[in-house]
Symmetry: C2
Subunit: 161 residues, 2 copies
């Protein structure tokens, strides 16, 4: 039986168990360039079991709400950051780990000016833009092996906002 | 005497001596997520003499054209990527090295869907958005020391587009 999930606005506090919210909220750590630029310094927990960090570009097909899914995945060997190259809202789905399987998922609506970084091994849904272009810079582990576990829930979830 | 510089549209070919253009042009290296997402894999030459990669958020005051500058800088110990979190055009200024000093600069107008990565030690202008919000994710070296050389040209340059 399909269960319904209400997407909540993304906040750093709510996202803490799953990863980092990267934005320019609050005071910058440093003013640079003759005070014309604020640097919010080193805001993502980049964490790679091996390999190294790399930047890739993801171009994903926009989805629409309500959004149904049954698949989540995780990368056991590295963190993964999604940086939107646009100001459109998009969806992030995460789930706590429950003994090596994903527990009940949570959905977040990511607003303009927010990027996220999943901590290493965090269960999450696939990249889910809600508008074109579905363009993101992704900072994740470049290395050997698949670094991917995929699990399907027994019944689909339906996300509304 | 001020010299005028015409900003040219950013292309990977023209930018090759200075760094990488990160975009979703051409065929993706891999289709993921049941073919709903193209991965343009590992497109930036991340290169750090020491320290490690980190993600920071930069929030810069938008400038306007014509744009006058006399300062360029370089980071001798690491590459630096600028990923716009918006679709507005912005300006990238670079210069070849001429015996430890910057040679004559070049200006590029960066279009929607393009990010850039300066190779380690490349002379470049400060982050120059042309519209609000001036919000970028920056992937650069996190480590000890200043990792910054700043040089002023004897006379300002004026960028037009």
């Amino acid at each position: 039986m399909t269960q319904t999930l209400l997407a909540q606005p993304l906040t750093a506090a709510a996202f803490t168990p799953f990863g980092d919210v990267l934005d320019a909220n609050g005071a910058p750590d440093k003013l640079i360039n003759a005070d014309l630029c604020g640097r919010y310094h080193d805001r993502a927990t980049l964490d790679f079991a091996d390999g190294r960090a790399g930047i890739s570009i993801f171009d994903a097909v926009p989805r629409s709400l309500p959004y149904a899914f049954d698949l989540v995945e995780r990368h056991p060997e590295g963190s993964q950051a999604f940086v939107p190259m646009h100001q459109n809202p998009w969806l992030v789905i995460v789930a706590p780990d429950a003994g090596g399987r994903p527990g009940d998922p949570l959905a977040f609506l990511v607003g303009p000016g927010q990027a996220i970084n999943f901590h290493k091994g965090t269960w999450h849904g696939v990249l889910t833009p809600l508008h074109a272009p579905g363009l993101f810079a992704v900072i994740d582990r470049i290395g050997a092996g698949t670094n991917l576990q995929e699990v399907r829930y027994p019944a689909p979830w339906r996300v509304i906002a």
